[in-house]
């Protein structure tokens, strides 16, 4: 609200994720790969193994070109991106951790200098001195990971910092250590994966292939332990996301495990068993698996923090938790600095609100696009349900605006799709009912699933009995919007719910706990629980 909102065609969070995934991929290689290089070099020198030494030399050139340029510059890219997408959060991080970053910068500086010198002095330094440079590189690189890890974990688990605002509490927060272990393990895996890129064609091929595989195995053994430790330290609301109710999270978990196992399998088969098979195509597959592993990991890390960017302090849409109440009371138009429309009743203003409040995670179309998610919403329903937006799967910040703002945004959301018109017949009644359910109830309920199941309420109810409940919905729970669907849709919905709730099923649904508006605040904001807007 404080800053202009940079309007992108994709959600801002997605841009950050894209930059971050690429950077994390290379920067973790920069840590693990540095270790890999010095250890390999010192073994080669100790054994007088010329083949291995010439591999190190070639690998170090590749290493420098990738990490110094792409790795370092993409890191600056993250800085640029977060400043553009979440200036408020960036500012708070800077005010908390500028000295941590300054310290990290010192390590970064040493790291860059060492990497350049290491790659250039294979001929001019003797073995021992060259190794010293290599070790300096590795220590500096790992230390910069150490420091950044503190800031990154802080964002999800600020721990005691919330009360003390003490630097060290924020830095060495509850997930600092587990995350450090997991990241170090990842850097080993990546050291192995990238080790194959410069795999010698003939001499020393088998040796290097097996050696790189060992790094991957070592990393892959430690990684699950680190992750389990990490997950056990997560705040409750993050742990809920792992219960499988959210498709993206499900896919990410499976993908992360799958890619890691696939990489490991490739390493064991084509690295250890038959190094002959480690052809460029296979290496490419391996690199893709590595990227997939990082992508899944970063996706999860970002998702588990939703709806926050800094847990309990700033929401993902860059609105401070402390501002929400004022925004709900005064409205956005009287609070925001940079608005694109002056007429608060216009659709343009609604669109502006959409960008401000939802744009960090949604765009109108495309990935996590709004259009398909609000299909079937009319302006009134949209304005109403916005009050409960934080209830929809628990991943979203509360709506920060007044009634006027909700109306404008509702109007915009409704304008994304043509209004629904149905010819309800006996043949399509259930089908229409299912669609209506998806638009009006499915965001918060299932009938027979584990997500706020309705079966208990409607088992044995006839369509007419179900329909009788509709007018009361708005009063039934302070977290539910009022029901205002046209009569034909309501009838179809009632038929659908009644049909589903009376269908025989194998397992009775067990309601899963979800982070919701009310328990979000219990779980996350001990200081001043947000008032429910009514």
């Amino acid at each position: 609200m404080n800053y202009p909102h940079w309007q992108l065609a994709i959600p801002g969070g997605m841009l950050i994720a894209l930059v971050a995934v690429l950077h994390v991929f290379v920067s973790h290689f920069a840590v693990g790969g540095g270790f890999f290089l010095v250890v390999t070099e010192s073994i080669a020198r100790r054994r007088g193994d010329g083949e291995l030494l010439s591999y190190c030399r070639r690998h170090s050139k590749f290493f420098a070109l990738l990490t110094l340029v792409f790795g370092a510059i993409s890191g600056v890219g993250i800085w640029f991106t977060i400043g553009l997408v979440s200036p408020e959060a960036t500012s708070t991080l800077i005010h908390t951790f500028v000295w941590a970053w300054a310290i990290e910068w010192v390590f970064f500086f040493v790291e860059i200098a060492a990497a350049i010198i290491y790659a250039k002095t294979w001929d001019s330094l003797d073995g021992r001195e060259h190794l010293i440079i290599g070790w300096i590189y590795f220590v500096a690189a790992w230390m910069s990971l150490f420091v950044i890890n503190g800031i990154l974990t802080f964002m999800l688990t600020p721990g005691r910092w919330i009360e003390t605002h003490n630097f060290w509490d924020g830095m060495f927060n509850p997930t600092f250590m587990p995350s450090l272990v997991a990241r170090t393990a990842v850097s080993f895996i990546l050291a192995g994966i990238f080790g194959y890129i410069t795999l010698p064609k003939v001499e020393g091929r088998e040796k290097v292939a097996r050696w790189a595989a060992m790094w991957m195995v070592a990393g892959a053994v430690v990684l699950p332990l680190g992750l389990m430790w990490y997950f056990s330290r997560l705040p409750q609301f993050s742990q809920f996301y792992l219960n499988g109710l959210i498709r993206g999270v499900r896919h990410a978990v499976r993908g992360g495990v799958g890619f890691t196992l696939a990489a490991l399998a490739i390493a064991l088969i084509c690295g250890v068993w038959k190094p002959r098979w480690m052809r460029p195509g296979v290496v490419t597959a391996l690199v893709v698996c590595g990227l997939g592993m990082i992508g899944a990991g970063e996706y999860l890390r970002e998702f588990l923090r939703k709806p926050w960017v800094i847990n309990q302090v700033i929401y993902a849409n860059d609105i401070r938790a402390a501002q929400v109440e004022a925004l709900q009371a005064k409205g956005v138009s009287r609070t925001a600095n940079f608005l694109l429309a002056d007429d608060v009743t216009s659709e343009a203003y609604g669109q502006n609100l959409f960008h401000l409040q939802c744009g960090s995670c949604h765009a109108a179309g495309g990935y996590r696009g709004m259009r398909q998610r609000v299909d079937g919403w009319d302006a009134d329903f949209a304005a109403d349900i916005l009050q409960h937006i934080h209830m929809l799967r628990g991943t979203m910040p509360p709506y920060a605006g007044d009634a006027q703002d909700r109306k404008a945004l509702g109007k915009y959301l409704a304008s994304l799709n043509p209004a629904w018109q149905f010819q309800v017949t006996d043949a399509n009644r259930l089908e229409v009912g299912e669609k209506v359910f998806g638009a009006r109830c499915g965001h918060c309920h299932t009938v027979n699933g584990n997500y706020r199941p309705l079966r208990g309420a409607f088992e044995k109810a006839t369509p007419a009995q179900v329909a009788e409940v509709f007018p009361a919905l708005g009063d039934m729970s302070s977290n539910m919007p009022a029901f205002n669907a046209p009569a034909d849709q309501a009838a179809a919905l009632a038929a659908y719910i009644s049909h589903e709730a009376n269908r025989p099923i194998l397992h009775t649904p067990i309601p899963e706990q979800m982070p919701t508006g009310s328990n979000h605040s219990q779980l996350m904001r001990p200081a001043s629980p947000r008032q429910e807007v009514r």
Partner: protein
């Protein structure tokens, strides 16, 4: 009437005293500019001599281009590294202005990242191919240099826009997608030219200094380099006066008047003028003799001093621009003393480590640049 929207400062206190952040900012920014001048000015020098050196009658140009080729990637590496530090500290003090202006030109601002990568890989490519003297290598170098010039332009846009909040809202409404430039700024062009020309000037001073060292191993080549660098330095510095005057005329009168009214700004400005004249005299006198004398080194030192003074002046002018909106003295401060001390210790340790590595390299059998 629309009021001028200024994002409010962060609710958290500053984790260190303003003077410390200011001092760090001025120092790292000066170093950043020195390196940037080496990367950009050096690129221009290299390109010119590379093209010239393709004719056999200019062997020294060719040699110079080859020698610089290996250094360009390193210059760029440290330009970025020091730039990061400057960006860090400027955010602490002026974050609310910088974030806003960056967002307004967001799409271009973000383009800086891929552009730096392109320039950087181009420099690496050139450093591997320069000796062969191919046309493609020359083209790649030219692209890298142009890209760096483009990046400098984006930076100048942002750095001027952050000082002009009165332009923000209209600009945002025109293009909320970040495809803006601060073209309405009268000082944009002179400022840009001042900086690019200054980069060539400062790198010429660096080359004069390097040439003096070269004279120890190859007197004739060294002298050629010193004299050439000195001439370019003098020409560019002369140009710098004209551009500087244009710049002064282009900035708003009230701001320019601070140079007269504010004793600190006026003093820094006066010292800067004196030091640049001194630098020019020293370098010219030192280099024009039959055997260039160590005055050149002093001239090089003076030109870095000039740069530092100009950086300070730039900072003071920024304060003048933002005077209606900022009160650095009024910011809440809660120094994280322990962490600051740790940083300073590590900083010294880091410098020592880098020094130690350079010492190792110097002890090595062959110099770094030649060993690649």
């Amino acid at each position: 009437m629309q009021t001028i929207p200024i994002p409010h400062v962060d609710p958290l206190p500053l984790p260190g005293p303003v003077w410390l952040f200011t001092a760090l900012l001025l120092v790292v920014f000066t170093l950043h500019v020195v390196l940037m001048n080496s990367a950009l000015g050096g690129g221009i020098w290299t390109l010119w001599n590379y093209l010239r050196g393709r004719h056999s009658e200019h062997p020294y140009s060719r040699r110079l281009a080859n020698e610089l080729a290996g250094m360009l990637p390193t210059f760029l590496a440290f330009t970025v590294t020091l730039g990061v530090a400057a960006l860090l500290f400027v955010q602490v003090l002026f974050g609310n202005f910088l974030y806003a202006s960056s967002i307004l030109i967001g799409s271009l601002w973000l383009m800086v990242i891929p552009l730096v990568m392109v320039a950087y890989y181009g420099y690496y490519y050139f450093s591997y191919r320069a000796e062969k003297g191919t046309g493609i290598a020359g083209c790649v170098l030219a692209v890298s240099v142009c890209v760096l010039l483009g990046i400098a332009f984006i930076f100048v846009n942002n750095m001027t826009l952050m000082l002009a909040p009165e332009r923000w809202l209209a600009m945002y409404r025109a293009h909320p997608n970040g495809w803006n430039l601060n073209l309405g700024e009268r000082s944009l062009v002179p400022r840009y030219l001042h900086i690019v020309n200054g980069a060539i000037a400062l790198f010429s001073a660096i080359l004069a200094h390097l040439g003096m060292r070269k004279m120890k191993t190859d007197a004739e080549y060294g002298r050629w380099l010193v004299q050439r660098a000195a001439l370019v330095f003098a020409a560019c510095t002369g140009g710098q006066f004209l551009l500087g005057m244009w710049l002064l005329l282009a900035i708003p009168r009230e701001i320019a008047m601070t140079l007269l009214r504010d004793p600190l700004a006026g003093g820094v400005f006066g010292l800067g003028l004196m030091s640049v004249i001194l630098a020019m005299l020293l370098i010219l006198l030192g280099s024009l003799a039959e055997k260039p004398s160590p005055l050149v080194h002093a001239g090089f030192g003076m030109s870095v001093v000039t740069l530092f003074l100009m950086v300070c002046l730039r900072y003071l002018l920024r304060l003048a621009y933002l005077k209606p909106y900022v009160d650095l003295g009024g910011l809440a401060v809660q120094p994280q003393v322990g962490v600051i001390v740790l940083f300073l210790l590590l900083f010294v340790g880091g410098l020592a480590t880098v020094g130690y590595m350079l010492w190792l390299v110097a002890q090595g059998r062959r110099p770094v640049a030649a060993a690649r």
